[in-house]
Structures are given as C-alpha cells and as structure tokens.
Amino acid sequence: MTPETATVFVVDNDPSVRKALARSLLTAGLKVKTFASAREFLDQGPPGSPGCLVLDVRMPGLSGLELQAELNARDIRIPIIFITGHGDIPLSVKAMKGGATDFLTKPFKLGNLIRAIREALQQDEFLQASRAKNAEVQRCLEKLTPREREVLDLVVKGRLNKQIGEELGAAESTIKVHRGRVMNKMQVQSVADLVRDMAGLAPKHRE
C-alpha cells in the first residue's frame, strides 16, 4: 500500500473549505474525496480503500466528534485529523481521547495538514498490515483444538512443558506433542514469534 493509492476523506460543511482542501491535497499528489456532512460520509458505508479522514469539528447535524464516536462504535478504523474553526482545549482532549491522530485549528498551514495526513496514512498502512496479520493469526487460532488452545495460552505465559502437564493433568510427553502441533498450526518458528503474534490481537481474541 502506498500513499498514492490511499484516499483522503474530507468532511466539512463549508464549501469554500472543501474546495480549497480538495485543490491543495490534489496538488500535493493525494487522492481526495469530499463530503458536505458527517451523515453523507457514513451513508457511503465503510471506506473500501485505506486512507484518512480530515474532519471539521463543528458541523450542523452530526458533528465531527459524534462521527468519531459513531465510527468507533461501528469498529471502522480510520485515522482522523480534526480541523476546527474555533478550537478549545476540552474539545481537543475529547477528540484525542477518541483516538484522533491530530487536531488542527483553522486557518492551519497547509504543510502541517499534509504532514499530518502523511503520518495518518502511514499509521493506517501499519494498521492495515497488523490488521491483516491479526486476521491470519485469528484464522490459525481457529484451527486449534481446545486442548491445543489451552496449551498455547500457557506457552505464551512462559510455562515449561512439565509445568503445563502438571497444570492440565497430562504427561509431559503429551504436552510436547500438543506444543509441536500448535507451533505448526500457528505457522511460527519460535515461542517469541508466537508471543508477538498473540500480543497484536485485541484482548478479547487473546483469551
């Protein structure tokens, strides 16, 4: 994934701002898609392509912050750069807590916005990659038997075969066989790789 294939989604109710941003980002070599309201953005469904969201905070109807909450609720992961005409600290704190990448006050330097957009896109790229990895790990996890999953969880906690056998009430040799199958099914070479893969998963998937 390269920045050139990623899309910058601009949501601002002000037509002048939308038009200017579109022109600027296009000139900067970015792919841009503009929306006049948060509702319009939501209505198009989850963005199919990677990218980031440049979002005005104060808008009639659904505000920028409300859109952020809605996206979080729908588990639509996309980096958000907030732009606002009248920024205050409580507002920016709220935005950052909601996972915003950046918070820019209008009128901002175009360079700052573009830098923020590029950072956001990199983040998205990383996110997209880790999301793909996680999905892979998830798929591998689903191949495990319940006994193998129990063994995996204890291996990740750093238990030795003997300790796992005592804990599960099985012979050390049996555990050794299970461990071999887990490593095989999870497509990892070492315990270190296994631990890294598992840590990347959201907590609910880790249990």
């Binding site: 002048s16 701002v17 200017a20 000139t27 104060r58 005409g85 175009l110």
Partner: protein, 622 residues
C-alpha cells in the same frame, strides 16, 4: 390881625364878604387904605367897608330868600303832586300831615284827614300788621337818637265807600329834639314820615300770578311728585346698580389681586406676548431662571431669541412661526444663556390666546428650568447607552464561537488556496489555470471574511446616536446573516415571512439589530432543550395596523412560565444560568426610544412569540 384884640364876630364869620366889600371900596375910591389903626381915615374906611358889607349881605339875603321861596314852591309842588302819598303821623298813628296824593289815595279831602288815625283806613285783617309796622318804626328803648331804620310794609286799606286797595308803606321815624316839634304839627313826641304808594295793581297781578302759580305749582307738584317717584325709583335702581358694581369692582380687584398673586408667585417663568411680540406680562420668576429681571426682558422684541443658544435658534424660530397657526398647546425644549453666562435648559409650553371674537391676542407661555432634569436625562441616556453597548459586547461574546468559526472558515480556505497556488506556480511547468482559480477563490473568501468582520465590528462599536430611514426586512436579513452559523450549529431552522411592501421606519440600525439578535438568541436558547429537528424559528414582518409595522420572533420552545411573563423586561431578571438579565430590558428600552413597544406572549400550541412595533416613517416629518 393882632392877637391881643378880640375881632368882631361878623367879619370873622363872613371873611369873604369883608374881602368883597374892601375890593369894591378900593375900586370906587381908588385909594389904598392906610393900614394904621386908630387913624380917622382908617375908621372911615372901616365904616365904609361895614356899610358895603351890610349892603352886600342884604342883597345876598334877598337873593337867598327868593331862591328859598322858589325852592319851597318847587318842593311843595313836588310834595303835593308826587304820585306817592306822604304822611306825617304821630307815634299813635294820627295823621299830622298829608300830601294831595295821600288824600286822593284815601278818598278823603286833606282837611278832613288831619288828626284822624291812619289805622282807621287799614282793612280789618291788616290792622295787626299796621300796629306792628308802627311799633317797629318807632324808636326802640335805649336806641341811639337820630332817624330810625326805614321800615316798610304792605297793607290793604279800605276807603270810606268800602273799596279796598293795596298800598306799600315806607316809614321812618324822625325823633325830634327837645323843644322842637315838627313844623306845623303842633305835637310833641316822635313823628313818623310815611310814604304810601298804591300797589293794588301789582297786588292784583301778584294775586293773579299767585293763583295761576298755585295752579301751576299744583300741576307742577303733581308732576314733580310723579317725576320724583320715578326718579326715586331710578335712583334706587342706580343705587342698587352702583352697589352691585361696587361689589363687582371689589370682587374684580380681589380677583385681580388673586390672579396677579398667582401669576407673580408661580415658580415657573410665565409670560404673555402680544401679537406684535411685546411682553404684556412677565412673571418675576424670570429673574430666577434667566438672571434678567422682567423689566430687562421687556426691552425689545427679540430679547428672548437673543438669549437662546445659537444652535437652538432655528428650532425656536420654526416654533414661533407656528404661533398663530396652531391652536393647540405646544412645547419645545431649548437652551438659553443666562445673564451670568451659564447654560440653562428651558422647557417652553405655549398656547395662543384668542379673544371672544376669536381674534389673536398673542401667546401665553410658561418656561421651566429643566437643566437638572436634562442633565439627569443625559446622564441616564449615557448610562443606558453604555449598558446597551456592554450588552452588545456580551452578546458578541456569546456568539464568539460561531463568529470565530465563521471567520476562520474563509481564512482556512484562503490559506490553503494561497499555499497551493504557490506550489502550482512552482511546478514545472506551472499550472497557471489552477493557480488562477485558486486566487479567484481567495478573493471571494477574503470578501466573505471581511463582511463577517464588518458585521461584528458594528456590534462592538459605540452607537452613533444617529437614525436613518431603514427597511426593516433588510435589517432582519443582515441579522440572520450574522447569526447564520450559530443557527446552523444549533440546528435551528429559521423561516422568514417578510411583508414585501413593508413601509420604512426611522431608526438606529445597530440598536434595532441588537434587539433582533437578542430576541433570536433568546429563542434559540429557549429551544435548546428540544429534540433535533424540532427547533423552529419564525420571523415575520407585517403592516396590519395603520401607521406602524410589527415584527414577530416566534419560537417552538417551552414557552414562558406565566408568572415570569410580567417580569421578563425587568433588568437583571433572568431564567438562564449565567445570564445577565439585561437583554430584554435593554431591548425594551431601545424599542421604546423608537416610539414602539415590545411585548411577549405564549403561543397557543408551543413556544413564545416576542413582538415589537415601530411607527412608520413619513417623509413630510424628517
């Protein structure tokens, strides 16, 4: 003549005779007598002189006698033939002498009259009078001797034949000295001389006159009585009228005093100016107010005009021009320079005076010193102005977020476009078309930002106390432009129903905008608790009542609690957390200063409506 010898009596008594005799002798002898006494020649001369003296005396006596005789005859004649009867009577009334006329009057020969009492000829009824006449004529006891006072009386006499006639007697008493008796009377005692004239004709005439006079008098008296009664009645009426008039005069004088007292002791400066512009009356209070006494003000017609502040004179002249034309009481406020140079505000009330026939009699005016009140008014006005400005700034503060947003939107666009244009021009080859489009957008956006700033600046500005002719529909549009982003953010839908043919008003644009902002922001606040999509704001202009326009701001909020409706316009009354409570109080003050009124009502369904009226501006009253 020697002193030692007694001269003979005759020559001494008649010296002129001796001188005449001596002169005659000298002429006849031609000698000058010797002056030596005792000589024979002297003695002869003396005798000759005596002889001549005697001759002269004799001759003289003869001449005198003849003269006397003639005189006596003349007097006798005069006496006897006098038309008046002369009588000489005794004190008892007996006739001693009578002339011919006297006898003729009595109708008795003169000889038979002597010694007869004159009283016997007096008519019986006049006898008393006669006796009284006689006694008054006689000398009174103790009176000085000599002729007494002349007495007169009128009597009726009766002749022996019974005929009566009237006489007038004039008598005088000649008291003779002792031993003498009146000539030819032969009696002693007082003699009365009486002249008797016949006055019968006169008496008759008099009687006739008296009779006719009596008749006339009777008639006259009756007429006089009638006339007198009439006159008395008139007099009585007059007297009553006079009394009434006196009372009226007294009342008039009292009332004059009363009114003068009222006028002179009025606190305000009162005056009455004649149609010619001369002061007919000027109350003494003028001195307190202007420093000039009434007498100083009475000099010249233009005295008051000269006192008036130059900036107010034109206004005053216009006011004065309407004196005759306007029958209504009018008032005007102007400044004057007092005598001490101080500026003084005068509130002037006046009214033309007309007589019974409607004629113009001048102008009655009352002037009050309102300097203190004016100062207080100005202070209050300044305070209110300042408060209104604070309120505007507060409003602007409340709107700061939306206004900042409103300004920052175009600014953000401008910045992006500017930096992009630079990049577009820096490319190789430069993208001039796109750069031009960017610059055009910059121009548009900077204009938009400028307009927002302009509107904002008006809110912060100190109001210029200036009114202009306004189309209120435009003011409403401007206000909505200013509040556009606030309305949008609060998701309030604003509907406007503006009367296209709305008449213009005279007003202060900023102040009226302030009222509209206040009402609209209040409406938005009132609707903040509503569900999304339920916030409807409706602004209406109408001209339904002649002479005024009406502006309504209607919301769909919770409405106003009934007990609060009355207190809404009180200063510092607020239902908002953090509200100052001045918005509506100031709005009401502004509308009332524009001769309009502001009120609030709850809508039948939901929400409240704030409504204000303003008078229509007429061109003829600039």
């Amino acid at each position: 003549m020697s002193k030692h010898r007694k001269p003979p009596a005759p020559p001494d008594h008649y010296p002129h005779i001796r001188l005449a005799a001596e002169a005659q002798l000298a002429r006849s002898s031609g000698t000058v007598p010797e002056r030596q006494r005792g000589t024979p020649a002297a003695m002869i001369h003396e005798l000759q002189v005596h002889q001549l003296e005697l001759e002269i005396q004799n001759h003289e006596l003869k001449r005198v006698q003849s003269e006397l005789e003639q005189s006596r005859d003349r007097y006798l004649d005069l006496y006897d033939f006098s038309p008046v009867g002369y009588f000489a009577i005794t004190g008892e009334g007996r006739i001693l002498e009578v002339n011919l006329m006297g006898a003729t009057l009595l109708g008795v020969p003169r000889s038979k009259l002597l010694q007869r009492p004159l009283g016997s000829f007096v008519a019986f009824e006049d006898r008393d009078r006669w006796r009284r006449h006689l006694s008054t004529t006689l000398p009174q006891a103790g009176s000085s001797p000599g002729p007494g006072e002349k007495q007169s009386c009128e009597l009726m006499l009766q002749r022996e034949n019974g005929a009566t006639f009237h006489v007038c007697l004039e008598s005088i008493c000649l008291e003779q000295t002792a031993g003498q008796e009146p000539a030819g009377t032969g009696v002693a005692g007082p003699v009365i001389r009486t002249a008797m004239s016949d006055i019968t004709k006169r008496i008759e005439a008099e009687t006739m006159l008296r009779n006719s006079e009596a008749r006339l008098r009777q008639e006259l008296e009756s007429r006089v009585r009638d006339r007198t009664a009439e006159l008395q009645q008139i007099n009585e009426n007059l007297r009553r009228e006079i009394e009434i008039r006196k009372l009226a005069e007294q009342e008039l004088s009292e009332s004059e005093t009363r009114y003068r007292t009222v006028a002179d002791f009025t606190y305000d400066w009162e005056y009455w100016e004649s149609p010619e512009g001369v002061l007919v009356y000027c109350s003494p209070a003028c001195e307190r107010i202007t420093g000039y006494s009434a007498a100083e003000l009475a000099v010249g017609k233009e005295r008051l005009t000269q006192m008036i502040h130059p900036q107010d004179r034109e206004h005053w002249r216009q006011h004065k021009c309407a004196d005759r034309a306007m029958p209504m009481p009018r008032s005007i406020t102007f400044r004057i320079h007092r005598k001490d140079g101080e500026l003084c505000w005068i509130e002037h009330f006046c009214q033309p005076i007309t007589g019974n026939q409607g004629e113009f009699l001048g102008v009655r005016a009352s002037n009050r010193d309102v300097t203190d009140r004016k100062q207080a008014d100005m202070d209050l006005h300044e305070l209110r102005e300042a408060l209104a400005r604070v309120a505007r700034i507060t409003t602007a503060g409340q709107l700061a977020a939306s206004l900042a947003h409103e300004i920052n939107q175009p600014l953000a666009a401008i910045r992006c476009n500017a930096e992009t244009a630079q990049q577009l021009l820096a490319c190789a080859p430069p993208n001039i078309a796109e750069a031009r489009a960017a610059l055009a957008d910059i121009a548009d956006d900077s204009g938009r930002a400028g307009r927002v700033i302009q509107r904002l600046r008006a809110l912060f500005a100190k109001t210029i106390d200036e009114r202009s002719v306004l189309q209120l529909n435009n003011v409403i549009h401007e206000t909505l432009d200013l509040l556009h982003s606030e309305l949008e953010l609060r998701e309030v839908t604003a509907q406007v129903h503006l009367e296209p043919a709305l008449p213009k008003v005279l007003g202060n644009r900023i102040e009226l905008q302030q009222v509209l902002i206040n009402l609209i922001v209040n409406a938005m606040d009132a609707m903040s608790g509503c569900k999304p999509g339920q916030q409807h704001l409706e602004i209406t202009t109408a001209c339904e009542v002649p002479g005024e326009i009406r502006v309504s701001v209607c919301d769909s909020g919770a409405g106003i609690q009934v007990p609060e409706i009355r207190r809404l316009f009180e200063p510092f009354f607020t239902t908002k957390v953090g509200g100052m409570g001045m918005g509506l109080a100031i709005s009401q003050y502004i509308i009332e200063a524009h001769d309009g009124n502001l009120r609030a009502v709850n809508n039948p369904e939901r929400g409240a409506t704030f409504q204000f009226t303003l008078p229509i501006h007429h061109k003829e009253h600039p």
